[in-house]
């Protein structure tokens, strides 16, 4: 074993992560090589130095009292965290998406007027199909299964007007048997994300004609994000009370909304 190979394995050796067959040759080399031995001791000193790191935190009685009080009052933790540290966590995608549509309002109205009834209908149809389980939307995005619900069209109703309402209401809501129920706060959070995604999807679709290359480039990443959402949701369906699973799913939605927001911004830049 030479020095170069040992240097590649030195950190894993220090972390005690090398399997026995790899560890023994490293040990033998270190005992006979002053250079590698010095490198190893340097790593050990570094480790010791990081061990002296002290943080300005004091988790003690006060924190326990707060934890205890919140357990006693039965406060919903997801609601609290998102409210306190990220009020926009649950609702920002919707608000952001609504803002995006509002910013693009003039363009939207102009587009609706120019395309007439058929143009608007196509957009709504795309949104409807996007909400259907397993069907890919025009922008290459695919919504996760089990959450088709007309309430997700509500923000669009406000933007697009009464005609949209009538079309959206005709969409058949999923029956209780078709949907796998999630705990109410989670279902609400998911619904907000879906509403935001629906809005952003419409915006992306609208601009995909003028920026086909951007839309094509975004298709694969968005499909990957959809796969992440589906996987995370399946885990939540199996473990609806697991906070890690729920957070994973909401994080996956969050990531998709952020990606779509970036895509919309990118499309707008190309338009300019």
């Amino acid at each position: 074993m030479n020095c170069e190979r040992v240097s590649l394995q030195l950190e894993e050796y220090l972390d005690n992560e090398l399997p026995e067959p790899d560890r023994l040759p490293v040990e033998a080399h270190l005992s006979g090589c002053a250079l590698c031995s010095e490198a190893y001791e340097s790593l050990e000193r570094e480790q010791e130095m990081f061990g002296r790191y002290v943080r300005p935190i004091e988790p003690g009685e006060a924190m326990w009292a707060a934890v205890r009080a919140r357990i006693e009052t039965g406060e919903d933790p997801a609601k609290v965290v998102r409210g306190r540290f990220g009020r926009r966590g649950l609702f920002v995608p919707l608000v952001a998406a609504a803002c995006l549509v509002a910013v693009a309002g003039i363009g939207f109205v102009a587009w609706r007027n120019s395309t007439g009834a058929m143009g608007g209908g196509e957009t709504i149809a795309r949104q409807g199909s996007a909400n259907a389980p397993g069907e890919a939307g025009q922008s290459g995005t695919e919504f996760p299964a089990q959450v088709p619900n007309v309430t997700s069209a509500k923000p669009v109703e406000r933007v697009a007007g009464a005609r949209v309402v009538s079309r959206a209401r005709r969409q058949r809501p999923a029956t209780a048997a078709e949907r796998i129920a999630l705990p109410t706060p989670v279902a609400k959070a998911e619904q907000n994300y879906l509403s935001a995604i629906a809005l952003l999807s419409t915006e992306i679709d609208r601009k995909s004609g003028s920026n086909p290359e951007v839309s094509r480039a975004a298709r694969k990443p968005l499909q990957d994000l959809d796969a992440n959402i589906r996987t995370a949701r399946r885990v939540v369906e199996q473990n609806p009370n697991d906070p890690i699973a729920v957070n994973s799913m909401l994080s996956a939605y969050d990531e998709k909304v952020e990606t779509m927001q970036r895509l919309v911004a990118l499309q707008a830049r190309f338009d300019r």
Binding site: P56, M63, I71
Partner: protein, 208 residues
Amino acid sequence: MRRTGNTDAMKLPIRTIGRRDGGAVSVELAAERVLAGDPDAFRHIFDRYSRPVTSFIFDIVGRGELAEELAQETFVRAYRGLSSLRDSAKLSTWLFGIAKFTAWEAMRAERRRGSVGIDEVAEMPATGEGARPEDQLLGRELNSVIRDALAALDDDKRTVFSLRIFQQKSYDEIVEITGFTLAKVKTDLHRARSEMRRRVGPYVEGTV
């Protein structure tokens, strides 16, 4: 309405929580006792993990007050979700997983608001109680240097580095906590070490 978390535990009289029974109870046993109807046992879990969990969250968010609030949140979530813990031997990994998600969630929310807390200047404590004044000064400087170097890492690397170097988690445990692949954990850890060495190294050479 379905609720997130340990509904059985939530039905129990909470007034007993917070008493210490003084006995040495393993955290695994404590988790089983909470699930079996003894919410008092959750105090053992809190006592055992409050400092490492808060430290880990501090490494991610970089602010003491926020870290303590998020740690508090982590323990409330853990209490509610304890019934979903399948293997009490993995309590630590599970708890750090909740801490990681809670911290990342808060970071994302703050970034959307346009404020990222990691660069907040905090009064860093000196290393070691009762140390000589010059050592305290060196300790405070070391803390600031390490903290600034940590803040310069990206979220993935900072998380992996903290879990391995400060919390002494194995690679497999880091995989479970973060959801990263083993290859990514190794790569991020190696790069994080290199970046930390580059930033902290000059200071270390002069003092260690």
